[in-house]
Symmetry: C2
Subunit: 405 residues, 2 copies
Amino acid sequence: MAVGLTPPRRLAPVAGIRLASAPAGIRYQGRDDLVLMEIAPGAATAAVFTRNAFAAAPVSVGRTHLANSSPRYLLINSGNANAGTGEAGLRDALACCQAVARACGCAQAEVLPFSTGVIGAPLAVARITAALPGLARDLCEDGWLAVAQAIMTTDTVPKGISHSIDLEGGRVWITGVAKGAGMIRPDMATMLAFVASDIRMPQSLLEAALRDAVAGSFNAITVDGDTSTNDACVVMATGRSGVAIEREDEPGYTVFRLGLSEAMGHLAQSIVRDGEGATKFITVQLRGVPTEREARQVAYTVAHSPLVKTAFFASDPNWGRILAAVGRSEVAGLDATRVDIHLDDLPVVQGGAAAPGYTEAAGCRVMSSPEIRLVIDLKLGHCGAEIWTTDLSHDYVRINAEYRS
Amino acid sequence: MAVGLTPPRRLAPVAGIRLASAPAGIRYQGRDDLVLMEIAPGAATAAVFTRNAFAAAPVSVGRTHLANSSPRYLLINSGNANAGTGEAGLRDALACCQAVARACGCAQAEVLPFSTGVIGAPLAVARITAALPGLARDLCEDGWLAVAQAIMTTDTVPKGISHSIDLEGGRVWITGVAKGAGMIRPDMATMLAFVASDIRMPQSLLEAALRDAVAGSFNAITVDGDTSTNDACVVMATGRSGVAIEREDEPGYTVFRLGLSEAMGHLAQSIVRDGEGATKFITVQLRGVPTEREARQVAYTVAHSPLVKTAFFASDPNWGRILAAVGRSEVAGLDATRVDIHLDDLPVVQGGAAAPGYTEAAGCRVMSSPEIRLVIDLKLGHCGAEIWTTDLSHDYVRINAEYRS
């Protein structure tokens, strides 16, 4: 069902990162659902977490641990989000970290826990701890593909990317995996991403690169603040390539930052392409908006409109629904008689009404493609925004009505 | 498909209002799609219109006409919204008003036009004007039921209400009709309501009563500003009962205001109950919120969440999705460990986690009812809000993917 998305064929190892996955039977049968990731000593690790007020237990524990020590291990389970589980959930997350510490010989605070799956069910801690000694034994550098599979929930395709960047000091690798498919609004325990590089970088610089890369990737598929209880994106820099960047004003920093953004952009797009029930991959581009904030506001109003999304599903160039969504997005000074809309390069709306020469047949041709660019120009200013979204299909309803049954 | 909604059996005439409907062939075949409503001279008429920046042509014309004269005729068509039609749409709306003026012998500015249906298609002005002489001839006081049917688009059940109120000066009648069914978000050319009474009331007092009634009815099913291109609600007071209210501090004003609110609440609920693809009627009640604005914000975030709506469709008491929606609704100071959730009277969440003694079986029992009350208490303050919404079903997608085909 995923739109233009194939599984990664090979994910390059990153020196200084060892991984293992195993079937712990947390919720799924006959597949891996538990991942242990080891980070070499001396690596820098940065992370961003959900801004949802109901942050899941592992997010609370992870935030605290990250603030107080350098992580050595990530523990990731699918099938259960350990969210909405109150005090017991926090105890369970800590117990898992403690079990990793015992199995691997590190401090409890050096473990970051991640969970994704059903909200409100108690975590099967005993099954997780029972699987840990085996995971610790199996750690190796080649496990990225298996990890991409083990962290899937309603995903239909594993998501990963590997590429190398040539810097002045030599070649560095970036490899990342992600999971997530609930994408009309990412308000389920949805999105996890783990990206590693063998570059050496100070913690603060890695954090800046992460913030920058998230803005143009995962935050281009999610409304600010519209995050789930468990969303997290982690970037690790092990330094094992011997290539180092120390300061923001080195030319290599910009090259690495763009490489990281490219990798994270690919992972974010993969999540949208595998959106639940998606049959279309839609790029919404706003232009001519007074501020970037308003441009994103209009883009999300359009992208979240069930009527616009069902029109895309039906390959129906129903531009009236797009205009109506723009019209209620509360941009100051919006002038209906100036708005232009293009579908790909086809002029559809000009000055708030059907463009001269526009035909329904031409609109249908564009809409029948699985990849569509919707360009909306408000002619009010000089800012813009680009976000990625999907259509709303029968399968979205089916998947989300059946998710727990 | 409508949830607990039966067609009105009888709608009482309102002295001073005459109506007629006819099949003009605007879009539908074999049914009435055009309505003329005559308001007796000396009546007061108040209206609220959509706040969408892309207000349709009839809304622009109607606003201007209402500001400049006392309306004598309403012209309402279904099948075509005359929205997104630019200058030509304005000319078409004015041409229709002019045709009414000719057929009925009034000024053009004494006609208010209303259109509902597909956006972006030119209005069949010739068919409308051709039908007008017949409509003018057929005007009578008994046409309310036929009008309720003629204004339907994707509605499956006509919507209307009649009741009488006994005031000190005697009995007055309130009769109203409404149309609208696109209700996940009312961002289509969706909602029209026409309510009349034979009470006598000054214009300014009628406007106040309308504002008050709208707040607890049509604005309890629509986000502020989240209105469609064509939404309109009109209230007419003909004065023909001989019962008059002059000032806000008369006891009769409160009684009438409540009676008007009750009628409009019924019409608004009818629209939700006939929501596209609806299988459930859901009342979302927020309590313990610092401000009413925030209470409505949380209520709408929950009510618009596709994941919450699909869970209701599946009769799945997936309270984790409800918590996640509350968590991203950006209420300052939200404390996850204090939130309580009830489904009807069943405690489901207490202090942010499953309530003691709560069982999935008990939750499923409540969720399998066609009418469900969802009560969310944030324990943060003393304000609340109540809104009405529906689930998100396979049929919603089907209806909106096929609407123009």
